[in-house]
């Protein structure tokens, strides 16, 4: 789940300066769960923009705005409203917003900040447990990620800032290394804690990332 938060309405309004006719895009997946770009939030945004004197030429909420072909198809389906718009307001993650970028030549504006790949603990509670490092180390650490859950991404044990299981950056956040220690101890695998892990390969997720399926019959046997 990609966690997003809504930008302040004033910021959105400022971005739309000079564009009177707006088309709004929401996402039926992550942004719906985050309540930043679902049907309800898109309708609210429409009303707020109209109250500010804007014309909303159309709205669309569909699954996977990040799917570029899907987005192009949705734009074709809404051809009239899309063509009437001066610009597009995208109420989902940065990936979705850039998907819209591929589907139009007109101005595209993000309505959200994209914050992390998150787990849903319960309604409205999202936490980051994976930071997409490109070289998964969960096997070694009892399936608790030190790269993400330790603020400093330390691979070799807690820093001196750990305090009764909490991180030095916030008493609200668990010290990832205390969690890992407890987990490995429970599993009888403290030998993994004793192992020295060398520097991480930070180029395993070199930006911009790119993964292409190998076509069957090519490159293989």
């Amino acid at each position: 789940m990609i966690i997003t938060t809504s930008k302040p309405f004033e910021e959105v309004l400022k971005a739309l300066e000079g564009e009177d006719k707006v088309f709004i895009v929401g996402c039926g997946l992550c942004a719906t769960t985050c309540e930043t770009g679902g049907e309800e939030q898109v309708a609210e945004m429409k009303a707020k923009l109209e109250a500010e004197g804007k014309t909303v030429t159309g709205t669309v909420v569909y699954e996977e705005v990040c799917h570029e072909l899907n987005t192009k198809r949705k734009f074709r389906e809404n051809k009239e409203a899309v063509e009437a718009a001066d610009g597009f307001l995208v109420m989902c993650c940065g990936a979705g917003t850039q998907s819209v970028r591929e589907a139009t030549e007109k101005p595209v504006h993000p309505a959200c900040n994209t914050v992390f790949l998150g787990n849903i603990q319960r309604h409205g509670h999202f936490v980051e447990k994976c930071s997409l490092c490109g070289e998964c180390v969960l096997e070694d650490f009892g399936a608790i990620c030190p790269v993400t859950r330790c603020h400093k991404g330390i691979l070799n044990g807690p820093c001196g800032g750990t305090d009764e299981g909490k991180c030095e950056t916030s008493k609200e956040k668990d010290c990832g290394w205390t969690l890992i220690y407890n987990q490995l101890e429970k599993m009888g695998k403290l030998d993994r804690f004793r192992r020295i892990y060398g520097p991480k390969n930070w180029q395993a997720n070199m930006k911009p990332g790119r993964v292409i399926f190998e076509k069957k019959g090519e490159g293989g046997e």
């Binding site: 603020h151 400093k152 991404g153 330390i154 691979l155 070799n156 044990g157 807690p158 820093c159 001196g160 800032g161 750990t162 305090d163 009764e164 299981g165 030095e168 950056t169 290394w177 205390t178 220690y181 403290l190 804690f193 004793r194 020295i196 892990y197 060398g198 520097p199 930070w202």
Partner: protein, 309 residues
């Protein structure tokens, strides 16, 4: 190979510890800016009173005059530096380059730290680096000593440092901390300075555990000067791994306001004496945090004169 500062006026930290002497180190916190006059005063004041001086590296994530520049300044002024290197602000390329430079300027001792978190400091929007951490930094130096950088490339001239690290005796829970202590030794740490210790009974328990893990590494007890009841309250509430016990807190509270610093000096002098008399560890690291000028007084009260040790 040319090492720019060839003559070492002072014995190194390694030489002091290996000769069995009780190591006394102080700390220099570089200023925020180019006015280094007061820092030079502190260096001049301490250079013959302590065996060596730590130089903090953007301490608490607050941007300051650099630790490496200060270490060289200390050498130039005839003192012995213990260069603190953190992994927060520099990636492995930058750290390796700094270490090459440090070596050619006669720096012989490096303290390897991960570094405080960025939000603790005064550049709250900066990008934290943490390309490496303390254990990996120790290993990296070992590799450089063998003539290779961390990319596996051959160096034209390597380095040689006395590799230090830190440990937090009052961390809760202590077990993961002790395992990390063990890993630091395995990664090449030859000596340790501890985070601030106030509770000597707890320190004794820590030393028993530490000696069981290794009787080869040197351990120096870190002491922070107490200056006021407010400071104690702040540290107990906000500084992880630091705990000022009730009796010391009361002692400071009972002190008349104008006498508080003197009480703090006396408490630390007493603790230094205890470390030496009871042979609890191999040295002391005095952190006076802005009050460097009273360090000679602390040592005098403790009856410690490094020229006679």
């Amino acid at each position: 190979m040319t090492v720019l500062i060839k003559e070492h006026a002072k014995p190194s930290i390694q030489e002091i510890l290996e000769s069995g002497k009780f190591l006394v180190t102080g700390e220099i916190g570089p200023p925020k800016g180019t006015d280094i006059d007061e820092m030079i005063e502190h260096i001049e004041l301490l250079k013959d009173k302590v065996h060596a001086m730590n130089i903090t590296d953007n301490q608490s994530s607050v941007m300051r005059y650099p630790s490496l520049g200060t270490a060289i300044l200390i050498k130039e002024l005839g003192g012995e530096p213990n260069l603190q290197v953190t992994c927060r602000d520099r990636n492995r390329l930058a750290i390796e380059a700094d270490l090459l430079f440090a070596y050619t300027r006669g720096i012989r001792s490096v303290l390897c730290l991960t570094g405080d978190s960025i939000p603790a400091g005064d550049h709250k929007e900066a990008k934290a680096v943490f390309d490496l951490e303390s254990v990996q930094l120790l290993q990296l130096i070992c590799n450089m000593e063998e003539g290779r950088d961390s990319g596996g490339n051959e160096l034209k001239g390597g380095v040689k440092f006395f590799k230090g690290a830190i440990v937090t005796p009052e961390a809760v829970p202590i077990e993961p901390q002790m395992l990390k202590f063990e890993k630091k030794i395995e990664a090449g740490a030859q000596w340790f300075q501890t985070q601030a210790v106030y509770d000597m009974d707890n320190f004794k328990r820590f030393m028993e555990k530490a000696r069981k893990i290794s009787d080869k590494v040197y351990i120096c007890c870190g002491l922070v000067l107490l200056t006021s009841p407010g400071q104690i309250k702040y540290m107990n509430a906000n500084v992880p791994g630091v705990f000022v016990p009730e009796n010391l807190a009361r002692e400071m509270e009972d002190a008349p306001k104008e006498e508080r610093l003197n009480y703090g000096i006396r408490i630390m002098a007493r603790q230094i004496r205890q470390l030496i008399d009871e042979k609890l560890c191999d040295g002391v690291h005095i952190m006076a945090i802005g009050k460097e000028s009273v360090v000679p007084q602390i040592l005098e009260e403790a009856g410690v004169d490094i020229t006679k040790m």
